[in-house]
Symmetry: C2
Subunit: 519 residues, 2 copies
């Protein structure tokens, strides 16, 4: 037992729980060694970090084993920390908020229970990875496409529950959820939406069923463990048209966002567009030392060199259109017409048609290429992201860029930012890349992060998702009526999880027994 | 005090509550006379019905008054029944499930707090009617369109909360909700989503905020009173193209639904399509006696005469496309191409372009024309609807038609049915029209309704919404794991509403104090 337990966790109770877990799910499904603990920890944490250490992991293979694990956790009062596959390294990987929690790793519950090509939906368990589902669709020749996050080794269910985003018209992943099976902290199994009927034929068709809608309550929460999820998939399009574009000057984003926002609202554009800075490109294909070896943030003239080398602008993006080629041609004409009054620059068009070989970096094919960013500084790299949500408003977005840029400079961190434009909001992903073993750098990264939270809060923008280290800090920014929503969440938490065993601290929601101490 | 109180309601406590209400919100905001009780009752109920009688109504004008009303209801243990405007007559109007409840009528909280043309969203109070919002948009020349139910004298908020449907791409009204302000039964005010931040600038932009998503929990529920709602509106389209079509034979719906379903999934069609039978048309423009005066359901040869007179098929529908004319032309070509292999029949095309006069029955202009259906039998008409949800599958839909048709014949009620096709489900609206004063007819209508519930349940289809009389019956059909979802809802109900004062029985959810007695 190398891991440092939080003072709230009783070592003997933990020990009993681990023995009981072994009896319930087998020795090969309980992981307790120092190596195990390390592999379930925050792999991007600064080297000297001692927070968020798991004491063990348990990996049930079935609903019944999952229920047994939760029963034991209740009996012994041992906190579990649920992960689907635990691969979201930028937000803490598999590591728990509360040190000493046992990671409840669902990666062995990985059955693809149903894929319905006609209704374009699937029913899957949380351990199913994007690669698994992709391979299944390929092998079975099912003409459906997934929407993927840029880094795709994680869980389909986990990503949707954490409100991940992709680049197809199905890119708001939590919005594609249709019906769940959930094990409540006390062990009872509930099915949501139309699945609440025994022989339901519409579980994956109709989200709501009858009465209150629960699906979104199990997203980013610790109210239950999702054991099955219905998810909508996109019929394979006849064609994809990619329109590549860049804005040369930082301030071009003002008109650019406004034009893109209007196109999206008019339903001419129907998928997310991510606008990123040059380091976003450079960090995928090179290391920092190839450009600059000075301290502090990379200066403007180096950024200019990146733009020249890759032949890109200050802001770079691709619009992607999916569907019948005749529709896409029409959409492309309207998009060009909307850009024409602002710039003579032309879009670079790339077509793909069904039957043609799938190009590299197609948005529906899983890749882990984006892991490259962590090599930016060399050494043992890591990153974490601060992602506030903003209105689709060019002026506000430009001001956010200026404010954020200044903070990166102030703390000497290379500016790496992007805006993912959805239907009515932009997600401003600010990536903070560091070398885990460079204490000075990780200290500055942490200070930068805190400054970004405060700045955004002052400006009225809240983060939608965050690293385990900042869950309380972000939850505290949601301060309307003395944090009324958080208090409501905690009342529900205490109702559903009276022993406080499930993912304490997730999204800043603490069960009663830890609450006072943690504030 | 003419109304018959449920035995659970204490007459003296009610009396004290009414006095306290008068002190808190003024005598002119509390309605207690027999005429008041009648006007808040179920206006389509059979004449001899004594269930669902309100004892009074109270109409707060502000958040503070609303909180005061709820405080008093808690003090006196008097149940309130929330309605926004109480105009959904087919489902019970303003009447409460539990007789003796005081109707909490929010129609005086009717401020349009914000309409943002660029973000295409509004923030409104529950008393705002579709006519109010329409007039506001017209007067302010704001280029946004609402999505409307066919009968539009009700509340915008109330309709969305009850998961109403319209005929634009924004036709799934509950899905357009973005952020709420809610008064919990204990009086505390919570804002959901991004609105949980004090100075939030994205309350109407981003649905989820951080952590569990609550908006859908306040739909069709009695967990709180929605005092403000954010709702997305559609930018006024450049054009509307209506494609009228009919299927001559009942069995044509098999291929018809399958073709429409595929078009919808391919995003060539992007709004709801309602397919209806001839009586649906006849009941708008004529009375039954003009066609037939026999007992029992109208026979096939009469239906044939309706088809001839109105020059329609057995199944009739319009596809509506909204947007840039060049896009609509392209969509129309693809739709025609999809129909061509099945039928030589042509679509009747009607174009509308921005700037042209708005035609009668435009889908974004409120109307109450559809009230005409209740004149079908003459006398004091009424109707109620049974609306199960089905997969978009032609064969299943045809079988549902056959089964339902047979039941209407069995109970001698004129067959009036329609299928509203959404993205992945169809709502099968079965309207049961009757003369309130014809006891034999209302008895048969009731028996038909029960039979339809049972048939659909056996087939695996659940209703998404229902009349106050059938809320328990529908809730009981959601029977997975011994009604686990309902039991979960009731646990949350008891947590949030410890005195059981808010809309007892809504969606079959009863607070503890009434639960045993009501089962």
């Amino acid at each position: 037992m190398a891991a440092k337990l939080s003072p709230q966790i009783d070592e003997r109770a933990l020990s009993r729980a681990l023995s009981d877990f072994e009896r319930a799910v087998g020795k090969d499904a309980v992981f307790t060694s120092a190596v195990d603990q390390a592999s379930y920890s925050d792999l991007y944490a600064p080297a000297d970090s001692t927070t968020h250490q798991p004491s063990a992991a348990v990996t049930p293979r079935s609903l019944e084993e999952l229920q047994a694990v939760m029963r034991i956790a209740n009996e012994q009062g041992v906190p579990l920390w649920t992960v689907s596959r635990g691969k979201n390294l930028g937000y803490g990987g598999a590591a728990p908020v509360l040190s000493g929690s046992v990671v409840l790793d669902l990666s062995r519950m990985n059955r693809i229970l149903d894929v319905d090509p006609r209704q374009a939906a699937c029913l899957i368990e949380p351990g199913v990875g994007f690669y698994d589902l992709y391979n299944h669709l390929q092998e079975q020749e099912i003409p459906l496409w997934m929407s993927l996050p840029s880094q795709a080794w994680g869980s389909v269910v986990g990503n949707a529950l954490d409100r991940g985003a992709g680049y197809t018209p199905y890119g708001e992943h939590a919005s594609q959820i249709c019906g769940m099976e959930v094990v409540l902290p006390t062990g009872e199994v509930v099915r949501t939406g139309a699945g609440a009927m025994n022989n339901s034929r519409t579980w994956q068709n109709f989200r709501n069923g009858f009465g209150p809608g629960w699906d979104q309550m199990f997203c980013q929460s610790n109210f239950g463990v999702v054991s099955k999820m219905g998810l909508w998939l996109m019929p394979a399009p006849e064609a994809v048209l990619t329109l590549k574009y860049d804005f040369q000057k930082p301030e071009d984003i003002i008109w650019g966002v406004d034009v893109l926002a209007e196109l999206r609202l008019r339903r001419i554009l129907d998928s997310h567009v991510t606008i990123g800075t040059p380091i976003r490109v450079a960090s995928l294909f090179s290391q920092r030392k190839e450009w600059y070896d000075g301290d502090g943030a990379i200066p403007d003239d180096i950024v200019q060199k990146m733009m020249e080398k890759y032949n890109i602008g200050f802001w770079n993006f691709s619009i992607r259109l999916f569907g019948h080629p005749a529709m896409l041609r029409q959409q492309a004409e309207l998009i060009k017409a909307a850009f024409a009054p602002h710039s003579k620059q032309e879009f670079v068009e790339t077509w793909w048609h069904q039957g043609e070989p799938v190009p590299k970096f197609a948005v529906h094919v899983p890749t882990v290429f984006f892991l490259n960013v962590t090599n930016w500084h060399g050494g043992r790299g890591g990153h974490t992201d601060f992602s506030p949500i903003m209105p689709l408003d060019g002026k506000q977005i430009y001001e956010q860029y200026l404010r954020t840029r200044q903070r990166y400079d102030e703390f000497g961190i290379d500016f790496y930012s992007g805006f993912t434009l959805a239907e009515r909001y932009a997600t401003n992903v600010n990536m903070v890349i560091y070398d885990r073993d460079n204490k000075d750098m990780t200290d500055r990264a942490r200070k930068l992060f805190r400054a970004l939270i405060d700045d955004s809060h002052r400006a009225g923008y809240g983060a939608y998702r965050t690293h385990i280290d900042y869950m309380d800090a972000i939850a505290q920014t949601y301060d309307f009526n003395n944090h009324a929503l958080l208090r409501l969440n905690e009342r529900v938490k205490d109702l559903l999880d009276p022993n406080g065993i499930l993912s304490p601290g997730k999204s800043g929601i603490w069960p009663r027994r830890f609450r006072e101490e943690k504030r």
